[in-house]
């Protein structure tokens, strides 16, 4: 059997390795346009930021061997042709035309099975000045090296990052590590567009607190400079810049597939079925160039991720060797570290649930990631979105200094298996003080959704609460101790403070007929207050969900 694989990074090489393990006699050829194969592009921000000292570490195995063509030949008996481009696929004769980029010589390869793993390319907007020096895309190790060298030599003082997605935020951390001024310009009205607005606002609030200048709803229109970039011009201002990072996203490389007459999906990526076959059953496609199905919504999505590409590679390898393995789909899971903040999302956001017509309940909680008495304790906020009809979890989002990836991964597992909030509550999650509390944040969030469903708790999101605050009719009742308010509180001229322990005796100080928004640090005492007030005949008490920990608007302190 002859297998030709176009693309020598994650999906391509993974499928090659899988095929070799099942078929010792198969002839496997991998075609790669670039000089490098199988490099860990996801590690680039950590090299630029100084966590990693040697960029070649991104190209080695865990045991230190460089993953080059020799390695694949020696260890796996796979032929890898680098600096070689596939220029045409002839599906009738089952021939791929390839061109050696060093010599420009063309030749042809016959295949029984073909794998297209051509990946994606960062988008480079055709703006005036885009080709000035020191405008980089964080895609290739050579770019990373140039930026790192500039940082080490003190060449860069003012960086502008264009695009506040995953890579944009990772690069904002990397550059902040070097103590230079960092501005992030984002066209949309929030950072990290995969989050709901109020979650993104908390991330932006944190970023601003860390000295990063965040400009949203702002469009870059040109770059100025004399050979070298010196200024980024947006539709609202000019920003000084001696370094520009473009991180506005990637587009799938589908030209070869399109020319070959293969189906392209609604998202613009290559269309594949659940076996990762293209519209030609002898041609598979995987990795960043194909579209996926979101497991929760069933909708097609373009969600390029190294983790997905590796799964694709295994499924393609199995199926080429006669298997019939399905790739089930993705959850659009995304996590990103930004300085000391961890941020994540899995499944559907509230915005997506609304758009898709779900009747849903959302709830946000804040809390500690382990018992408050442990010295390593950190906070996190977690939002759950749940189908109100059948209690199935639709998605989750989280941010904070606490351990959020554990919670995101637990919910990813529940989403994969169709779990409900009742399931989330029931899971016998591991418990020991160094790791988490006896009631995990996931169970607390599930519990709050249950309470909301039966009307035992009426919650209000930070965005809704802010509207109420601006309208001026609701009473904002902070039930924390006065010392806690001195440290941090909602910026509100008319904030009422009655500590929870005094609420029963001081209940007459509040008008029973008013709308009351109960506020505390994380939402728990606010909930206790709402129970007390309802017991005293109050009719309209809402709990500020996630408390002041998840309040993305102005906060005051003495």
């Amino acid at each position: 059997m002859k297998v030709v694989i176009i693309g020598g990074v994650a999906a391509g090489l993974k499928s090659a390795a899988k095929i070799r393990r099942s078929k010792p006699q198969a002839q496997i050829t991998v075609i790669e346009k670039g000089k490098l194969i199988s490099y860990g592009a996801c590690g680039i921000p950590y090299y630029v930021g100084g966590d990693i000292d040697d960029v070649t570490q991104l190209m080695t195995t865990a045991s230190g061997t460089v993953r080059n063509a020799d390695y694949f030949k020696n260890i796996k008996d796979i032929d890898v042709l680098t600096e070689t481009m596939a220029t045409n696929i002839d599906r009738v004769t089952k021939t791929v035309t390839i061109k050696d980029l060093k010599t420009d010589n063309e030749s042809q390869l016959l295949y029984d099975k073909l794998v297209i793993a051509t990946g994606a390319t960062p988008i480079k907007p055709p703006l005036p000045g885009i080709d000035l020096a020191n405008i980089y895309q964080m895609w290739h190790p050579d770019d990373a090296k140039a930026v790192r060298r500039g940082l080490e030599t003190g060449k860069f003082k003012n960086a502008v990052i264009i695009g506040a997605g995953l890579v944009g935020m990772e690069m904002a951390e990397a550059l902040t590590n070097w103590g230079i001024k960092v501005t992030v310009v984002e066209m949309k009205d929030q950072v990290l567009s995969f989050l709901d607005a109020e979650m993104a606002a908390s991330v932006a609030q944190y970023a601003t607190g860390q000295g990063v200048n965040i400009l949203t709803e702002e469009k870059v229109i040109q770059f100025n400079g004399d050979g070298v970039v010196s200024e980024v011009v947006t539709d609202k201002r000019s920003v000084l810049a001696d370094l520009v990072i473009l991180s506005i996203g990637v587009k799938p490389n589908v030209e070869l597939a399109r020319q070959a007459g293969l189906d392209i999906g609604v998202t613009g990526a290559i269309s594949v079925n659940e076996y990762l076959e293209t519209s030609d059953p002898d041609i598979y496609a995987g990795g960043d160039c194909v579209e996926n199905t979101n497991l929760v919504s069933g909708k097609k999505v373009f969600a390029p991720m190294g983790s997905t590409a590796n799964k694709h590679g295994r499924v393609i390898g199995e199926n080429i060797c006669g298997g019939r393995v399905k790739f089930r789909g993705v959850l659009n899971t995304a996590v990103v570290k930004f300085i000391d903040f961890n941020i994540g999302k899995v499944g559907l956001t509230e915005r997506e649930a609304k758009l898709l017509g779900y009747e849903y309940i959302a709830a946000t909680i804040s809390g500690h990631d382990r018992p408050h008495y442990m010295p390593e304790v950190k906070s996190l906020s977690l939002k759950l979105v749940v189908d109100a009809k059948n209690r199935r979890v639709l998605g989750a989002q989280a941010f904070g200094e606490g351990d959020i990836t554990k919670r995101i991964d637990v919910i990813a597992t529940a989403l994969t298996l169709g779990g409900t909030i009742d399931d989330l509550f029931d899971i016998d999650l591991s418990y020991a003080p160094p790791y988490n509390g006896p009631i995990d944040n996931v169970a607390v969030a599930a519990n709050v959704v249950m309470n909301k469903i039966v009307g035992q708790m009426v919650g209000i999101s930070s965005f809704e609460a802010k509207k109420r605050m601006d309208e001026g009719n609701a009473i904002f009742l902070d039930v924390r101790a006065p010392e806690e308010l001195k440290k941090i509180r909602l910026a509100h001229s008319d904030l009422k403070n009655i500590p929870l322990g005094q609420l029963r005796e001081r209940v007459d100080e509040i008008d029973k007929d008013s709308e009351v928004v109960a506020v505390c640090k994380i939402g728990l005492r606010g909930y206790e207050a709402s129970v007390i007030l309802k017991g005293q005949g109050f009719n309209d008490v809402k709990v500020l969900e996630g408390g002041i920990t998840a309040w993305p608007f102005q906060r005051d302190a003495d």
Copy 2:
């Protein structure tokens, strides 16, 4: 409605709070034998070890309020009677007799619904000398304070911990922090009896490396000393001891329930149905005094855990207020931190699966918990036990310096929802270099089980491999680079070393008809080697699962 709750720690107070939120008019009385209520006993080792400075932190809410009777009265309108013991339950008249331990006055409380949450008591073996001073059980904050004071003043130099369970290992860490000599004596043939033998052996190997003296299969027979303990005598030796920690387990407090004629289960704990009703439908029971059902095996188990007790409290509260909520069961999840090692288990071990008659496949992998190029990277070993008939996951165990609780919790979620290894592989787990690699350890382990099922990989556990090594017939082939062997290798006089990259050309150096055990650091290169050798006509190549990272026997270095 009158509700009486016997027991003022996790399950009791949680059910009280839940009832109050649903029934503002209910009369709720909690009876607690001790002076303290609702304290975080799980935090005691961290107070003793010095992580926590003030033991009262174990008794406060996250916002710093002491959870005493006043707190429960003020905030939740719940009456808590401390230093009060329930002495009798009359189910006909629905009356609990209580005794004030300060005055010895007896009185009676009527109930509509009764909750028994009497907890468990540490086992104190009736050995000669057991009442000598400085023999402690880590149960009450007063004991913790006495031990901490002794450590701070340098009074203790030689500690003996009896019982190598969760608390025993946590205390071994705590005492090691103070630089004193620690010996752990365990009657069974391994530490942490909830683990399979080879996993436990790796933990013991690590503990020994950290200077802790581990004595297994050794029974304490008496304590010597003149008023104060000075020596622990086992069936094999005498050990110097000025401090003894008893941590041989707990027994459920069931006397009151037994006297009242309620059913006691096969495990010796109170028997409850899925609604947590005892054999009397007006009496609920929860927390450490009841028995649970293991969700995987369906068997009754005694598995006292603070996390389970809190879940029980909520279920009982809901059901007393007219709900019909089920408590589904437990997974016997256990995690423990021991110095820089994280150790965990969920579901069934291989030993349990065998005992219960499952036809199972087990596989152990080692690996990094995030990409090898990240500075925070750590190793972990993960063992999966899978039902060979239907591919359902039965359980998992893990150890190492890496982040194991995330993986244990993901598998706990899968177990709760009946997931298979295919599900584990499919989960779109979060991926970013600060947190994990593109193929998570859980997916790697699932993949190895799949490969074992179809015979693509033949694995051998460390225990089986050691037997082969001692018999002397198999060739142990280490395929790492010579420099790696210099640092650490199996202690074996006849270890053959051919680096993986040279294996194809040097294959003639190995006898094709021999049994070959392929060895590497984590098992991956061993697997590659087995694929190469099988391709070259070898018939009996086994991969050492988990590599040298999971080798619990002697390891050599230059």
